[in-house]
Symmetry: C2
Subunit: 213 residues, 2 copies
């Protein structure tokens, strides 16, 4: 069983399980999902990340103690991933490092879109010379802004701008972009470069390291 940590607080069971269900449906894995508490807007800046880290460590340790054989931290900033790796023996997979490593496997110059003011450090560091540029789409301040039609149109514009600037593929530096299925939205807008969805990427590596594999 895989433990998937949501870094945003939901009470709706369907929302809690949304990333887990995307991964389960694509990779045929057994997943239990849990949210950290009291973060209704998730992680979208340094303050909200610092607030989340101890909660993620506690939840990850509890999931490992309860028998999970792999932990996914489903957030593009990889919050608490390093700390968890030093505390538990099972594989710990982060959305941001996963998306960046998938991008490197293709070797193309990678444009990044996200919801934070700056590109998440784990993504910029991992991409290295393959990092092309970063944009936060207009009007997007947190993951909930992605749900509006105007937010989604701003994502399409940002991606077009990155490609004009030389990006050969696009990485989604917010797992909320998986929630809205931004890949399909971009395809419908004739974006044809490879698209790296961080939820898909974390699922890919979880499928490789899961004991079921």
């Amino acid at each position: 069983m895989i433990g998937l940590i949501r870094v945003i607080t939901f009470s709706d069971v369907k929302l809690i399980n949304y990333h887990g269900n995307l991964i389960r449906n694509k990779y045929n894995l057994s997943i239990v999902s849990e949210c950290i508490k009291n973060q209704d807007k998730g992680i979208h800046d340094d303050v909200t990340e610092r607030k989340a880290v101890p909660k993620i460590i506690d939840l990850g340790k509890r999931m490992a103690d309860s028998g999970c054989d792999l932990i996914i931290v489903s957030c593009a900033a990889d919050p608490a991933v390093k700390q968890l790796r030093s505390r538990i023996d099972i594989p710990v997979i982060g959305a941001g490092s996963s998306a960046s490593l998938v991008a490197l496997a293709n070797g193309k110059r990678t444009g990044v879109i996200g919801i934070t003011e700056e590109v998440p450090a784990i993504i910029k560091e991992t991409l290295g010379v393959h990092f092309q540029g970063y944009l936060r789409p207009d009007g997007i301040d947190n993951t909930n802004d992605l749900l509006s039609k105007s937010g989604q149109e701003a994502c399409v514009q940002a991606v077009k701008q990155l490609i004009s600037g030389g990006a050969e593929q696009i990485l989604f530096a917010c797992t909320g972009m998986g929630t809205i299925n931004l890949k399909d939205i971009l395809n419908a807008n004739h974006i044809e470069v490879p698209l790296i969805d961080a939820v898909d990427a974390e699922g890919l590596f979880a499928s490789f390291y899961s004991k079921r594999n």
Copy 2:
């Protein structure tokens, strides 16, 4: 359709398609495999790698021209991968970079076994601080040596030695180790750390980037 390049010369169709069939069976992808010419012992040192590079470039370009939408260079040294990426637009996946990037997704210290005197450069560079050490099992000089019982026992011993030295997972730096299903051999010998098979790793990324995805 994915084009898979074997860097060893076979005439037996079953051997030519062996890696492609492993990937097809696990990831449900359509794959056509071809060998480079006149390298009966494959790539196992600098001389054989230099000899292979122009042949791989020619074959990869021909496969792209004939309609393949992704190329796999099925060799742990990633020969000609960078050159091919600069010459064709479709994704080019290398076995060595794939295995190393999969290892980084788990973040554990990685011991490497292979058939060359030194660890392939692409693997050591990509693993960075996560590289734990490298061993060539006793009596193994080229991929054909892996087929013998004594060669396989030497692989088990080398893996045990790397784990004693602090490796938390093991990466196979020769695709011939996928051919002999070294993962099953190690599991049967009670090796329980994560095992990263380079053929499996290249298939993983091909499944992500394939147009079918």
